[in-house]
Each structure stands twice: as structure tokens, then as C-alpha cells.
């Protein structure tokens, strides 16, 4: 496979996978927490949080990229703090992962939130009368029951992260090997005369990865829902 793609194209594929992997892995705990808060808790500013989470879904990606640049760039108020801790986002693959995570977050939260809302709160009440604190109720009742939803959210977020383009290119540009993800590489290939065949190869890789992820999640979701109690997910 490595000689089917040029080294540069291969780099883009690997980079995209790495970006999507870390983006999803690191945002998943926060995604579950936020989904749970939105589904189950009543608190001041819930509407605001909900809006904030969904903002990347409705804003032009370029605008999200601009905000990321302003906040997490070298001069940004958070970018400086992270740089002091040794994490630099601007024009690095880490920045691409951050952009992908922010853009994929609403999709992840939505899927998980729906599955939490489908869990009967009466089961959680029953668990608490049996002596389980809120954290235990979540870990032993809610979490196992929403695993299919978490899986769905993860796959959706992974696919979105793999395909993120607008915010990524705005935030971290399109530097081969450093920040050139699969979509950026396709875009770059199309800018060069005669680059169509390279673009096609990358498009095929994109399609294959997306379909593969979807198929994998279907199989796992089916296996999980059978384990949970024979209901269809």
C-alpha cells in the first residue's frame, strides 16, 4: 500500500488518522460529561452551554478556525498558557487535532445525549435506593446502558475529525507533513495541474476509512445491544 501512495500522500493519511484518533480520544470524557449534564441536570446557564457546544455546527468553519487562532494561537490568551506548558497548537498537528475535536464535539455530544435520555431515570433511582452514590449509578447503570450511543458518537466524531477542513486550514494552515491532513492534501493536489490522480487516490482512502469505521461501529453496536438486553440499539 505504501508504494501505491506517494510518501507525501501516505504522510497525510497517517497524520489524519493520528489527528482524528487523539481528537476523539481526548474529547470523549468531556463529551460524555457535557452530554450527561445536558441530559440530566438542571443548572443555570444550561441553554448557554448547549448553544456553545453546538456553535461549531452552525458557524462557518472558517470562523471557528479564526476563533481558534485568536484563542490558541501564539498570541492567543490560552495559546500562551499552553505554550508555557510545552504544548504548541499553532501550525502543528496538535492544532489540527484541536480544530478537529472542536468541530466534531457537537456531533459526539448529540449522539451520547440522546442515548442518555433514552435510559429510564427510574433505573437510576432504583440504583440509588440500593445504596449507589451518583457516581456509582453513572458508572454501573448509565454508562453500560449508553455504550452503543457512545460508540455511535465516537464513530461520528471520528469521521468528522477525519474530514475536517475549513477550521483546520484556517487555524494551522496546510503544511505538508506538519498539518496537511487528508482533506487538505486533496485540496492541495487539486491546486496543482495534473494532480487529479493523486486526489482520486486520497479520495478513495477517505471513502474506505469512513465506510470501514461505519461498518465496525454497526457490528460493535449490535453486539453491545445484545449484551445489554436484546433490545435494538
Amino acid at each position: 500500500m505504501s508504494d501505491w501512495l506517494t510518501p507525501l500522500e501516505w504522510q497525510a493519511v497517517v497524520l489524519s488518522l493520528r489527528v482524528a484518533f487523539w481528537a476523539v480520544l481526548l474529547s470523549l470524557p468531556l463529551g460524555i460529561f457535557v452530554a450527561h449534564a445536558l441530559a440530566r441536570w438542571q443548572f443555570w446557564g444550561k441553554g448557554l452551554l448547549n448553544g456553545l457546544v453546538h456553535l461549531p455546527l452552525i458557524l462557518p468553519p472558517v470562523v471557528t478556525g479564526y476563533f481558534l487562532l485568536m484563542t490558541f494561537g501564539r498570541q492567543g490568551w490560552l495559546g500562551g498558557a499552553f505554550a508555557d506548558m510545552g504544548v504548541v497548537f499553532a501550525f502543528r498537528w496538535t492544532g489540527a487535532a484541536l480544530a478537529a475535536a472542536v468541530m466534531a464535539f457537537p456531533l459526539m455530544v448529540r449522539a451520547i445525549r440522546l442515548s442518555i435520555e433514552a435510559v429510564d431515570p427510574k433505573l437510576e433511582d432504583a440504583a440509588s435506593t440500593l445504596g449507589a452514590s451518583r457516581l456509582w449509578v453513572f458508572a454501573t447503570i448509565t454508562l453500560p446502558l449508553i455504550l452503543p450511543g457512545i460508540l455511535a458518537g465516537t464513530v461520528l466524531a471520528f469521521a468528522k475529525a477525519m474530514g475536517e477542513f475549513g477550521a483546520t486550514i484556517t487555524f494551522v494552515s496546510n503544511i505538508p507533513v506538519q498539518t496537511q491532513t487528508l482533506p487538505s492534501a486533496i485540496y492541495a493536489a487539486l491546486q496543482v495541474p495534473g494532480g487529479e490522480s493523486g486526489a482520486l487516490r486520497l479520495v478513495m482512502v477517505s471513502v474506505a476509512v469512513a465506510m470501514g469505521a461505519l461498518a465496525l461501529s454497526e457490528v460493535m453496536a449490535r453486539r453491545m445491544s445484545r449484551r445489554i438486553g436484546g433490545r435494538d440499539a
Partner: protein, 359 residues
């Protein structure tokens, strides 16, 4: 001993009540919407009442004046819900272990093997909740609550979702809980038959207030507190087991009057309480002859209460005690049944009711 003092507004319902439940099985009784579930959920900590105080065996679970509100998991309760609420991703064994694990630092209320045996759960242990029948789910739910080492067991109409056959299957388990497990039980119900069979103490709720409370025998003898009125009225008599006859019958001595009924489990000499439903009693002006009924008591009419419908409830004083008969108003008129006249009460069936425990 459970002590409850509550005030709570819930929509149109204004709850304002105070009761205490002695050991044994206390039934919160009343029609739907009377506030029964609100009370039991307040005891469980699933609902935060506007004001009040709740304690179990002297341990305060909630006191709005002192700002105490224990969360459900800290209350040491066992709650049997109407819809069982078994965890669908765990099998029966794991469901039973759930509360037991959280209660592992407390002395258990009941030995696990005994609970499994008593509720007949042995063959079900490896099964998932979705592979259980309604009655089986109820039994697992009872076992799960019991294994959580509760100071008090709460049950919210645990039989309401079951058909008659299943109800008859589960009822004896609650009797055994009451008689063998020594755990106080607060039981919500609107079914008179369940109450008559299970209750040692009855608290009658209506519109968020307590209509009557007291020993089951006294409360249930008063048809005015029953949601269905005279239809479910009945009298309780105290009797001593005199003899177990060879033909499968038991003779009781009710203040000198013999009562014959199918074999009673209690030994000779034991004091039992029997219930005679008002609709199982026929009245006659003269001693009937050639009748298949075994129990005929002579007595004097004390009171005739006419209801809204065609029926009337007749209170008859007999040597064995006061019994109730439900007849039609037409019969009452035809037979000339008025207070003071002598009648014979033909009793079609007698059932043994639970003995009072400290009530």
C-alpha cells in the same frame, strides 16, 4: 418503627400527614391520587418534601427544620417498585448482588442463600431480566431489595402490574417477609384483598390526609374508609385453634362459638385472626336447615347502613364478635331487618388474616 411527618404540595394535591408504623407490615391504603406514592418516595428520598421529618428506628432520614436530607443511597432502605426496575444489562445474580455490594459493611438483613431459597430464585440466577416473567421479576426485585440490608422495606403496589394468578403467587412471599424476616415493611396498595391479607397496621390516605390509622382489623371493619365502600367490607374475629380434624378442616373457638374452616397452619392453642368478608355472609330470620354452609352464627342486628346503590351493610352482634353482612336493601325490607331483631348469619367462607404484630 417508622415515623413520618410530612407537608408537601404537588399540583392540586396538598399533602399534610403524620403517622408512625410499628413493626410488621404497614399498608398505606387509599385510592389513586391520594398521595400514597408521594409518601413512600419521600421516605425513600426520591422526593424532597416541602417540610417534615422522617425517621426509621430513631435514625433521622430527613428533617427540614434541622436541614437534614439524606440522599437515597444513605437511607438504608430497600425499595420494591411496581415495575420491578431490574437492571437490564445485569443477570439475576448480578441484580441481587447490586445492593448487597453497597451494603457489604453492614450486617446483612438476610442470608443470601435463604433469600434465594425463600423466593425460589435458584433456577433464575443466570437469566437476564428480559427472559423473566412478570412474577419472576417481582420476586427478583424483592430479593434485591432485601439483600441491600435495609432498615425498612418499601413496596409501591408491587402486585399492581401482575394478573390475578401472579398476584396469588407473589402474595405469600410478602407474608413470609413479614413473618420470617423481621424487617418493617411499608406497603402501598389500593387493593382491599391485599391489605386484608398482609397488613398488620393500616394507614388510610385520602386527598393527602390521613382518614384513619390503626390495627388492620379495626380499620378494615369500617366500610367508610374503603375506596370501594361496602363491596370490600369485612369483619375480623379473634379465635383460638381448637382442633385439626381428620377431614382437612380446622375448628376454631371464637369466644365460645365454633368456626370451621380449611386447615389452618397454626398449631392447636394458637390465637389467630380470621376475616369474614361482608359479601360472604347471608342473613336469615330463622335458623336455616339443610344448608351446606358449616358456619352459622346467631346474633342480633345492631345497625343497618344503606349505601348509595342497591346494597345495605348490616352490622350483626354475635357471641363470636361483630360481623358484617352485605345484603340488598330489598332483602332487608322483605325480611324486616331492623336494629334489635334476632338473625342468623350464614357464613360462606372464612379466611385467616395475619396476626397483629405489636400493632
Amino acid at each position: 418503627m417508622l415515623e413520618v411527618n410530612l407537608r408537601h404540595a404537588l399540583g392540586a394535591l396538598e399533602l399534610d400527614l403524620q403517622f408512625s408504623a410499628p413493626p410488621g407490615l404497614t399498608v398505606l391504603f387509599g385510592r389513586s391520587g391520594a398521595g400514597k406514592t408521594t409518601v413512600i418516595n419521600a421516605v425513600a428520598g426520591l422526593l424532597r418534601p416541602d417540610a417534615g421529618r422522617i425517621s426509621v428506628s430513631g435514625r433521622c432520614l430527613m428533617d427540614t427544620e434541622r436541614g437534614v436530607f439524606l440522599r437515597p443511597e444513605a437511607r438504608r432502605i430497600g425499595y420494591v417498585f411496581q415495575d420491578a426496575r431490574l437492571f437490564p444489562h445485569l443477570n439475576v445474580q448480578q441484580n441481587l448482588s447490586y445492593g448487597q455490594w453497597f451494603a457489604r459493611h453492614r450486617p446483612p438483613r438476610a442470608d443470601r442463600a435463604r433469600v434465594v431459597e425463600m423466593l425460589g430464585l435458584g433456577p433464575l440466577l443466570e437469566r437476564r431480566p428480559d427472559a423473566l416473567s412478570g412474577g419472576e421479576k417481582s420476586r427478583v426485585a424483592i430479593g434485591r431489595a432485601l439483600l441491600a440490608a435495609p432498615d425498612i422495606l418499601l413496596a409501591d403496589e408491587p402486585l399492581a402490574a401482575l394478573d390475578e394468578t401472579r398476584k396469588a403467587e407473589i402474595l405469600p412471599y410478602f407474608e413470609r417477609l413479614r413473618d420470617e424476616m423481621n424487617v418493617p415493611i411499608l406497603y402501598v396498595s389500593h387493593a382491599v384483598r391485599e391489605v386484608a391479607r398482609l397488613a398488620t397496621t393500616v394507614v388510610v390516605l385520602d386527598g393527602g390526609r390521613i382518614l384513619r390509622q390503626g390495627a388492620a382489623a379495626e380499620v378494615l371493619a369500617d366500610p367508610s374508609v374503603l375506596p370501594t365502600g361496602a363491596r370490600d367490607a369485612g369483619a375480623f374475629l379473634t379465635a383460638i385453634v381448637q382442633d385439626h380434624d381428620e377431614d382437612g378442616l380446622t375448628t376454631l373457638d371464637a369466644s365460645g362459638m365454633p368456626l370451621i374452616l380449611p386447615r389452618v397452619a397454626a398449631p392447636v392453642g394458637a390465637v389467630v385472626r380470621v376475616r369474614i368478608a361482608a359479601h360472604d355472609v347471608i342473613l336469615a330470620r330463622h335458623r336455616p336447615e339443610g344448608l351446606s354452609a358449616l358456619n352459622i352464627l346467631s346474633g342480633r342486628v345492631q345497625e343497618v347502613r344503606a349505601g348509595d346503590g342497591p346494597g345495605a351493610l348490616v352490622v350483626v352482634d354475635t357471641q363470636a364478635g361483630r360481623i358484617l353482612a352485605r345484603i340488598t336493601r330489598r332483602s332487608a325490607l322483605a325480611l324486616g331487618i331492623t336494629p334489635g331483631i334476632a338473625v342468623f348469619a350464614v357464613i360462606k367462607s372464612v379466611s385467616v388474616a395475619p396476626a397483629d404484630v405489636g400493632g
